[in-house]
């Protein structure tokens, strides 16, 4: 990982699903520029996708265009993302995913994304201030694995069959 003192970047998008690819590209580019471990960058991107999708899909009661601000920093060995939006109040730490027992026919996806956010991030903070949701995500940066040591390269794991 490269020295990341003063590493900071920000982006504003509109409240449309089509805008979200800008954020994914932005996070990926930030990771490449600062030579961050791809696993941490991917986890951050996954969680931002879940939160932004939730905000854009459910957060606004009107049809007016809104802006959502995304900033990235590296602080004390952590990749930090901050989101600011003027959607209805929503604390992502409070949602609980409860999978339904049974097979594929009964399985549901709702709130699953928020489980990912709370499980994959090392810290999630939320504040409602001046009619804005302010969400802060922190992901610890581990040193990148040596070449060839990535778990997926060897096709790791054993086969599983649907239950």
């Amino acid at each position: 990982m490269r020295s990341t003192a003063n590493a900071k970047a920000s982006l504003c998008i509109g409240n449309a699903i089509a805008e979200m690819s800008k954020v994914a590209d932005f996070v990926e580019s930030f990771g490449v520029t600062h030579r961050l471990p791809s696993a941490a960058v991917n986890d951050m991107n996954l969680c931002l996708d879940e939160l932004l999708n939730n905000t854009i899909t459910y957060g606004y009661a009107d049809d007016v265009a809104h802006s959502i601000a995304v900033s990235l920093t590296v602080e004390r060995g952590r990749l930090v993302a901050e989101l600011a939006d003027d959607a209805r109040p929503f604390d992502p730490r409070r949602s609980r995913f409860r999978p339904r027992a049974g097979g594929r026919g009964r399985r549901r996806i709702g709130k699953l994304g928020l489980r990912f956010v709370n499980a994959l991030m090392d810290n999630v903070d939320y504040l409602r201030s001046d009619d804005y949701n302010l969400v802060r995500l922190e992901k610890m940066l581990q040193p990148a694995a040596p070449a060839g040591a990535a778990a997926g390269e060897a096709g790791s794991g054993s086969a599983t069959e649907p239950g």
């Binding site: 699903i17 089509a18 979200m20 690819s21 994914a24 791809s38 696993a39 991917n42 986890d43 991107n45 996954l46 996708d49 879940e50 932004l52 999708n53 999978p99 097979g103 594929r104 026919g105 399985r107 996806i109 699953l112 994304g113 489980r115 990912f116 499980a119 994959l120 990535a150 778990a151 997926g152 096709g155 790791s156 794991g157 054993s158 086969a159 599983t160 069959e161 649907p162 239950g163």
Partner: protein, 111 residues
Amino acid sequence: MKIAEEQAGGITVVAIDGRIDSNTAKSLEEKLTGLFKSGRNRVIVDCKQLAYITSAGLRVLLLAAKLADKSQGKLALCSMSVEVRRVFDLGEMSDLFAIYPSREEGLAKLA
């Protein structure tokens, strides 16, 4: 995200390169739905080059698995990284899919 399609015997291999997220999940849904509806109902999704998958992508795979069941077909996944597998585990989805360590093993099982 790029989607490549190959035929191996009577099995269709769909290889994903990149991310499956809110923006790209729709393309994957169209691809998999199209395969099952056209009768090509033995499908392996190769995840070797998959960077990550969000809940939007999991929803698409679940939908495809249900289509496979309805058409007496099969859907399998293969070559997941541990990071991608962790997302399936967190979502308690791993037991809902046939998941194989390699494409070769998946092809052998679906043959």
